[in-house]
Symmetry: C2
Subunit: 322 residues, 2 copies
């Protein structure tokens, strides 16, 4: 715990998390493409977290929280508010442990997201699409169930879980000069910082963010958290602001934050589909977009890119239905 009362997860927490979640997660493979290397002017290594069973890296942090609970707390279950991958990954992890998962979600959330949570046994309580309604509803659900709140990123257990990805990555690929990951709330970037600052201190951690939701970029420049009201971007996993815990890692360990436009994100997504032949969601394409836009920063380097998720509505692709 720091002076400010924050509990900063440590390397030991990451190592313990990895042991705890190994039976639940996949050691995802690393993809390469000579064609993308030629295009980028560097050697790119893509860690396929979209290949986790529920389709996103967030299963790491969620599973660490769920499988770290003592039996008494586990019996009361877990809860969160999210309409994205955290909700489905937490439901998935809870299902594997056989405990309840409650998710508070605005009734306006896409049906596909609700379906995924329910497929994994998550129980959805709908709220109005406002912060006050969400907080009120969540407080009620938590009071009724006694469920443990697992925040999507501002939780040391979650960050220690996400940090296991970078550990596998440096075991799989030697001599990475940099790892680039998307930044929204900062959970994956924080975990990456945790692991690399200890195990590969010469490897730079670079965050990539949509121009249209560039609050982390502006926070980084300003030296304090700046939160936007309602950013809009196709990279819908990256809408949320930094919080105290992720700000700790971002402000101390991130080398650089690059941004990319909506068109650059869509173009990079399509490039990844075409040349890596993997399905990634728009949020996951932001790092490749940022690399292609800032070739000078990566020229000749060995660059790791974390493909964070692959949950896409295949009936609505941005280059077809834009």
């Amino acid at each position: 715990m720091t002076e400010s009362g924050l509990i900063i997860p440590s390397l030991d927490d990451m190592l313990a998390a990895h042991e705890r979640i190994k039976p639940v997660i996949r050691r995802t493979p690393v993809r390469v493409s000579d064609h993308l290397n030629d295009l980028a002017g560097c050697q790119l290594f893509f860690k396929c977290e979209n290949f986790q069973e529920p389709g996103a890296f967030k299963v790491r942090g969620a599973a660490n929280a769920v499988f770290g609970l003592d039996d008494a707390q586990a019996a009361r279950g877990v809860a969160t508010h999210s309409s994205g991958n955290h909700a489905s990954c937490l439901s998935y992890a809870a299902k594997l442990r056989g405990i309840p998962c409650n998710v508070v979600m605005p009734h306006t959330a896409p049906q596909a997201k609700k379906d995924t949570v329910r497929r994994y046994g998550g129980v959805i309580t709908e709220c109005e699409p406002s912060t006050s309604s969400r907080e009120e509803t969540f407080a009620r659900v938590q009071a009724e169930t006694g469920a443990d709140f697992v925040h999507p990123y501002n939780d040391p257990r979650v960050i220690a879980g996400q940090a296991t990805c970078a550990r596998e990555f440096i075991e799989q690929v030697d001599g990475l000069d940099a790892v680039v990951a998307p930044i929204g709330g900062g959970g994956m970037i924080s975990g990456t910082c945790l692991t690399l600052s200890a195990l590969a201190p010469d490897c730079r951690v670079i965050a990539a963010e949509p121009e249209q939701a560039d609050d982390a970029y502006r926070s980084f420049k300003a030296g304090r958290i700046i939160a936007d009201d309602a950013p809009k971007t196709i990279a819908d996993g990256l809408l949320v602001p930094l919080k105290e815990l992720t700000w700790h890692f971002v402000s101390n360990h991130v080398s650089e934050i690059f941004t990319a436009s909506e068109q650059e994100i869509v173009d990079a997504m399509k490039l990844a589909w075409r040349h890596l032949r993997v399905v990634i969601e728009p949020s996951s394409a932001v790092p490749l977009a940022a690399v292609l836009k800032n070739k000078g920063a990566f020229a000749g380097k060995r660059v790791g890119v974390i493909l964070t998720g692959g949950n896409v509505d295949l009936d609505r692709l941005p280059w077809i239905n834009a």
Copy 2:
């Protein structure tokens, strides 16, 4: 060589091919999905040949032919007629060896296919979309260049190359009860038969074919090669007929041929994209479609599926533009 004059590739040919092509090909990973296992009622293992650099298993056979040439023949290059993955994979392998590759292709072939061949340095000679024009044009090109003809599948070097895929597969996954692969001309199925009949004789080889191009199915039932005139299916890699060499393997070692309708192929393709999060072309979805249609044949088994290729026009997806 058999009585009929066929040169049947042997297990040693496969082993030599594997050594020869290892620097050129990728040892592709195997994907699994709990969700697809639940759906199919068996344990599915998907070998991702779509992750080869040029996006298809055909790089194995093409590279074996190209890198097996002596220097004098290599200097005159290779040639083929194909408008599909064999043409681009042969061009790719030739480029890596630094030798010419001539491809005869109807002028009606899609621009994207021509672009891919040219990106890998292949030289295209266009012909009319008829067999006579193709043969005439090809004979002229071969006479002019002295290039070595590498048939897409009716060539022992090609089959020995494709056979390396099954060797990796059984090294990667223990105790497979069956391997299912698409059948068109039969190159991949023949290579799979070659390897498994020797190294895993208890593992059944099952072929999957579009209903609308079911000449291999009918040949299998009739006990002789039946070739269709101009079959039409979305699985455009599977339009070609069996030839003597592939018929040898199909008639001797294949346990079963299952067929799937166009809609079943498209549905399976979308399922693979959604749950495996990999981009596969329609031809590669036929085995999954066949498994889902014949669950009784696979119930409770460990079933390997070869995802043969991932070259798709992302602007025209069959479930959007059908």
